[in-house]
């Protein structure tokens, strides 16, 4: 078991969003969390990433309890979070952004290795290595955010809404790049609003509604489930 979330309760201030959320991810899996707006998908991700400290419950990563650690401490354990807002360093070049992604790696030659690997995955970023991140298009920024997340050689990537605000064509290319990561043996926990697409590519899925896990199972089964079809797909 790579990541195990047990009975997680979390929220902002007095407002509780997540209620007893539990989920597990094995090494090499491609897992999705789907659900309507405001269900708590992003909150789940932020809590695992250490940006929100939970009210109760546990997050266990590689057998180690990482509940309540700060975001930077969680990143050092090998979890990398690609947030919905991307949180890029807009006044830094593409290459500087990527080097910052490898902040937890101290050895220079390992950083360079990672950089070459990411440039191989996204040749587009290599072409634009000197450009400031703030001046790139939405799709390129998304690629940069995913690339930056890859730089630390993470065991687990949390990817939040990669298709948010993107044109359909770009969405396809972002999904394709995640596919490449999976082929390279990275474990991904994906949050998406594009339910059809997500359930088509992932191995397993969790359906989150009102801060609770409603359904879970293989993605193919979820896509066939009559309740999911009615609520999310409208058919």
């Amino acid at each position: 078991m790579l990541l195990e979330v047990k009975n997680l309760n979390a929220g902002y201030g007095y407002l509780q969003i997540l209620r007893d959320v539990s989920l597990q991810i094995d090494k090499g899996e491609y897992v999705a969390i789907v659900g309507p707006n405001g269900a708590g998908k992003s909150t789940t991700m932020k809590t695992i990433a250490g940006l929100i400290s939970p009210m109760s419950g546990n997050v266990v990563f590689k057998g180690e309890d990482i509940t309540g650690l700060s975001g930077s401490a969680v990143a050092k354990k090998g979890i990398s979070f690609v947030s919905e807002e991307m949180n890029l360093f807009v006044n830094m070049s593409v290459q500087e952004n990527l080097y910052m992604g490898a902040y937890t790696i101290k050895e220079k030659h390992l950083q360079t290795e990672r950089l070459e690997f990411v440039f191989e995955l996204f040749p587009r970023l290599a072409e634009r290595r000197k450009q400031l991140a703030g001046t790139m298009s939405g799709g390129e920024r998304k690629m940069l955010a995913i690339g930056r997340g890859m730089m630390s050689n993470p065991s687990l990537m949390l990817v939040d809404e990669p298709s948010f605000g993107l044109a359909p064509q770009l969405t396809t290319s972002v999904f394709a790049s995640l596919e490449v990561l999976i082929e390279n043996g990275v474990t991904i926990l994906l949050v998406e609003q594009n339910v059809t697409k997500t359930l088509a590519v992932t191995d397993r899925g969790y359906v989150l509604e009102n801060g609770k896990i409603g359904l879970e199972g293989r993605s193919a089964d979820l896509a066939e489930d009559s309740y999911v079809r009615k609520v999310f797909l409208g058919v």
Binding site: S70, A75, N87, F89, M92, M100, G101
Partner: protein, 342 residues
């Protein structure tokens, strides 16, 4: 190819930074020819000192969103530390004129000032800014501003209480014949204090641009959540930034001790001048702050020379008002976000 460079150059001159820098250089040359080389020397010495204080201020504002109004007091701490280190050294040197301290004693005092400022900065973070940040970051700019004003009053009065209100000055750091450059005589102290500030500003710029830690500081200033998710320890970076900013002010105070003696409110003038620089050059821009520092220094020197010594605050303030009305982001600040833009 050379045509291209020329075209770029004319385009640059037409932008606000280019135009203001060209005007500044022209004014400096004209005034130097008209009144004598001391105009240039004064501008460079004052500008170098201001650059140190203003870079620290830019750092506090750009990285931590703290409008620092206690920065002058770290200048004061620097000059006080240098005074108490250098006084025994100079007494010792009087009795032992052959000692290595003749040359390196002043450097010890200035390095002491640097360390004193860094430690004072770290203590302020631990006792004041850290607790406020953990308590609440609502209304952060306003609250931290008020806090720095309080720190300023506290430090000024602590100085008065412990060390007294008298002037604590020295005759000079390095004794020796003034250097003659093009008919102007520059004392060794002035020349070396400028070299020290130039070296420190250059090192600081290289540190911020090329080192891992310097990049982490810039990352925190651009996106604090982004910095956290790549594994940057925010608390450490904040502590380091405050320490660095205060050390920059303190080293300015220390290296100028031969010109400006230490007394409780010695930091107020450098503080206001540094704020002029930051408003003039825009927020969070190190190179802009350096250029702005020399412009404000020039303005001050010119005003003293041609308008009168009592006006050296009035003219820069008037200019700042004009800039705030017509170009609120500052001359160099067009691509930098302001604190309130977030």
């Amino acid at each position: 190819m050379s045509k291209n460079i020329l075209a770029d150059l004319t385009a640059w001159v037409r932008t606000a930074p280019g135009l203001s820098m060209v005007i500044a250089v022209v004014v400096t040359i004209a005034a130097t020819i008209h009144s004598g080389p001391y105009i240039l020397v004064n501008t460079i010495v004052t500008g170098g000192m201001l650059a140190l204080v203003a870079t620290g201020l830019t750092l506090m504002l750009g990285v931590l969103n703290i409008p620092m109004f206690a920065h002058g007091e770290y200048f004061m701490i620097g000059s006080l530390t240098a005074y108490y280190i250098f006084t025994p050294i100079s007494e010792f040197v009087l009795e032992h004129p052959e000692s290595w301290l003749v040359t390196f004693g002043p450097l010890l005092a200035i390095i002491g000032a640097l360390l004193g400022g860094a430690i004072a900065g770290a203590i302020s973070e631990k006792l004041i800014f850290g607790p406020l940040r953990r308590r609440s970051t609502d209304n952060w700019v306003m609250n931290s501003f008020l806090l720095t004003v309080g720190v300023s009053v506290l430090l000024i009065n602590l100085h008065q209480l412990i060390f007294g209100a008298d002037f604590k000055g020295i005759i000079g750091y390095w004794q020796g014949m003034p250097i003659s450059i093009g008919g102007a005589y520059i004392s060794l102290d002035r020349a070396l204090s400028f070299i020290i500030s130039a070296v420190i500003v250059a090192l600081f710029y290289l540190f911020m641009t090329y080192t891992r830690t310097g990049m982490a500081i810039r990352a925190v200033s651009q996106d604090i959540t982004g910095a956290e998710i790549v594994g940057i320890d925010i608390e450490k970076i904040v502590l380091l930034t405050i320490s660095l900013a205060c050390a920059l002010a303190a080293v300015a105070g220390g290296s100028l001790l031969f010109m400006i003696p230490s007394y409780p409110s010695v930091g107020l003038e450098p503080l206001y001048m540094a704020w002029f620089v930051v408003i003039l050059s825009g927020l969070g821009n190190i190179l802009g702050a350096v250029a702005g520092a020399f412009m404000v220094a020039l303005l001050k020197v010119i005003t003293v020379e041609y308008v009168g010594a009592g006006w050296d605050f009035v003219v820069p303030s008037a200019l700042i008002m004009l800039i705030l009305i017509f170009k609120p982001s500052g001359i160099f600040g067009s691509d930098v976000r302001g604190v309130l833009d977030k």
